[in-house]
Symmetry: C2
Subunit: 488 residues, 2 copies
């Protein structure tokens, strides 16, 4: 792309000023339409050192009300951020529906930094590219406008800017040693940038290269591209996109109706096993903390299946400084305004920590599907999106354990009735639980499809037969221990 690219001729000053005025006004107009259409707009500004990324963003936001945008200036990842998956901080920064987010460099810069300075090898680079393509596709598929700008300057121009900045004490600090390095290895960097731009130039999130030789001209190009992109995006409503074929290896799983629920444990066996297993899990927790292995345990299951009690038996074995339980209810407004995986990305554990989710991202293909909270295209796409999400986690080195806590309809009725009739349990049962129960068959169908389509080899579902809760608890502990032993 960069190699083919030829700069457009800068218009005459008078023309430039007129077009700039028009573009600024257009963006100002569009901010309210974006709000109204709930369009999230992500503007990624990448480019050469000293190309003026920060200045450009400063200019663009002057035309937007502060309530409608945020700016993120991305530095090298902190030690804290390095303990999360590569995409973590980028996913965390996606804008809400109806708002802009301007990124002063982002994932491209992260990858280039790895490539230039941190010895990222070819395989890791190829994996990163794959992650980025999936990430951007997940955003555009879910209705995000992703505008990617690359600010381009020549070698001489860069050298001139570096020297000018060095002249003044007030600006000297803005030149880093990496700007020098880039300029000294200009051709090498251009090749690397060019490959990256080519490999990530998707039709739904294409790259735009901007001639960044002069500030006003840079702003004009950026504003014209941005406002045109917004115009296109505003003209589309709830676009459906192709459902991709699964590319991940899958495990064979039973249907819910094939699961035998008569498994039991007597009290004595339960107690002795519980003690032994919790002791073992405690030891492993220590080791994974030291070896910095992140662990994610996901619980899904019928209402009253015994998820809460099961989780307690896991956490009972853990050092409280090393784990967190995330109970997942309906999304808050600020969560609903973003990609549905956002609230899970932002709750990921650090390396060496355990995150337990009491209900999960699978809500998309259960309750959201059945209650019509998302479109058919949305939930059908979600199986792959979720598999991709969990793939990112596993590639990062996480152990991902997913439990489906299974009971039958009769057991649920018994437990609902018991709760209803027992004063201190009554808060646990609501009208909604009874309504959901009426949709048992529809849920069963959705759960079956979910388990079939998301039991990847790297993150399969585990069924916990929980008519006897003791049996389910011991089984859960055994599975967690087994999975951790594999990596420790």
């Amino acid at each position: 792309m960069l190699n083919q690219w030829k700069e457009a001729e800068r218009p005459q000053e008078e023309d430039l000023v007129a077009r700039l005025k028009a573009a600024r006004e257009k963006l100002e107009d569009q901010q309210l339409k974006i709000k109204e259409h709930k369009l999230p707009v992500l503007v990624l500004v990448e480019g050469w050192g000293t190309a003026g990324k920060g200045h450009l963003i400063g200019q663009m936001i002057r035309n937007i009300d502060p309530r409608f945008f945020k700016v993120v200036s991305m530095q090298a990842p902190t030690e804290e951020e390095k303990r999360r998956p590569f995409l973590y901080r980028h996913f965390a920064n996606i804008p809400e529906a109806g708002k802009f987010c301007f990124l002063d460099s982002g994932w491209m810069n992260d990858i280039m930094r790895g490539r230039f300075y941190d010895g990222m090898d070819d395989q890791e680079y190829a994996d990163r590219i794959e992650s980025v393509k999936r990430f951007e596709r997940q955003l555009t598929d879910n209705g995000y406008l992703v505008v990617k700008l690359f600010l381009h300057i020549g070698k001489k121009e860069q050298e001139k800017r570096i020297n000018r900045l060095l002249l003044e004490k007030d600006t000297r600090w803005r030149v880093g040693k990496r700007d020098h390095w880039q300029n000294a290895h200009y051709d090498f960097c251009r090749e690397a940038f060019d490959s990256y731009l080519k490999e990530t130039n998707m039709p739904s999130a294409p790259w735009y290269i901007i001639d960044a030789k002069s500030k006003k001209w840079t702003e004009l190009q950026a504003l014209e591209i941005l406002t045109e992109g917004i115009e296109v995006a505003l003209s589309n409503n709830a676009m459906a996109v192709p459902i991709l074929q699964n590319v991940f290896p899958m495990e064979k799983m039973p249907l819910l109706s094939e699961i035998e629920l008569d498994k039991r444990l007597d009290e004595a066996t339960y107690k002795s096993q519980l003690k032994r297993l919790q002791k073992r899990l405690g030891e492993l927790h220590n080791r994974l903390y030291r070896k910095k292995v992140p662990v994610i345990i996901a619980y899904e299951g019928w209402d009253a299946a015994g998820k809460g009690g099961n989780i307690k038996r896991i956490t009972g074995a853990l050092d409280p400084r090393g784990y967190e339980v995330h109970p997942i209810a309906s999304p808050e407004p600020h969560e609903k305004a973003r990609h549905y995986l956002w609230r899970f990305w932002t709750r990921l554990p650090k390396t060496g920590h355990i995150a337990i989710f009491d209900r999960t991202w699978y809500g998309r293909v259960m309750v959201e599907r059945l209650e019509g909270f998302c479109s058919e295209n949305d939930w059908k796409r979600a199986y792959n999106e979720i598999n991709e999400f969990e793939k990112e986690l596993c590639d990062w080195g996480a152990v991902v354990i997913k439990f489906w806590v299974q009971i039958n309809k009769e057991t649920q009725l018994e437990r609902f009735t018991y709760r209803q009739n027992t004063l201190e349990k009554r808060w646990k049962i609501t009208e909604e639980d009874w309504r959901n129960r009426e949709k048992w068959d529809l849920y069963e169908e959705a759960v079956d499809e979910m388990i079939q389509k998301t039991s990847t080899a790297y993150a399969p579902w585990h069924i916990l037969e929980s008519v006897d809760k003791r049996y389910a608890r011991i089984k859960a502990l055994q599975i967690v221990i087994e999975e951790l032993e594999k990596v420790l």
Copy 2:
């Protein structure tokens, strides 16, 4: 893709039969919806030799009324086809709106054949991949559903099939030496297929790999993918897509208002030059015929600017067996039902021939834009689509010469009036010409934008100042000669 791919488990016979019945009925239902929504559906079936591509298509079309589909079984290109650009025969086969086209292998197979047997080198391969991505993107951007299926079988299975076919005299002919070669070099071919699938796996036209071990199971997978794709496509109306940045090198061009129209030639100079230049052009025509250089000359210009007379002075010098003039009027219904470039792709000359277009594919960004025959997103996208089209032609080795025949408003009025008042010229002037004249300023704006955005270095516009038609004719001849001399 192939390397990662793991076959889905074939359902139990009973389940398979039920799902197959449902899928067939669904496709049968959908054919009328496709008709109604004017959705063009292109189903590309690629895969291993003996994987059953033909059989699969035979099964799929059983559920569709013959009025709604065609099947194209693509052989190696004929000598005639080899004298056209690579994409020619593929573009020619795209379906009309509301209909299916099933391709028994297509451009993937062409490229793989080149790679395996015809010594296609890395650079040519990379160019082909780029062409294919552009081609498929142009289709999906213009509302086509493109479903790409790859039928996959293992090495042993292929060997078994080849041997079985060889057993019977009736089937022996179906095994070609390339099937043997493929099987003997199975791993090598799988790698090549895998790269191709990966490189052309675009979100809007993704690949689906099909486990082709058994016939009914193959059909079920294909039908389920196809019907799901149709469902998604039917749910979208006139989708707007991002306008891509120009990646082609451009020539600096004047605005129409900057062109000086006072250039003249006296009769004597005109006559002597005409004679000399036509003689020279005749010689060059001979040479390009022998050297098999294809030439495309495109004429656009104001009504009554003198296009017809200008073209006559070119063709006057040419051997009639070596050129064709294509007058372009409004599209016929069968042309309107396809991608707007289809009627130009199918009119391309053979190598060694000249095609002259009296009005062209630029109608998209002039009359179609101004009369609202296409959407704003359509014509804004068209500059790049046209540049890509002409790039294909130039990469194929064609000389592309584009003329804008320029006059001013006063000259047009004179000529209109003369035509109106001269009996034998009156047929040349219609009400529509007068109406178009009223929109002169809007047209001028559109023409300026067109010339600025499509004067690529490989196919720039040439302005013919035609207030004096003699001057314009001589200039056209000079330019054609000059361009041909560059390559001969």
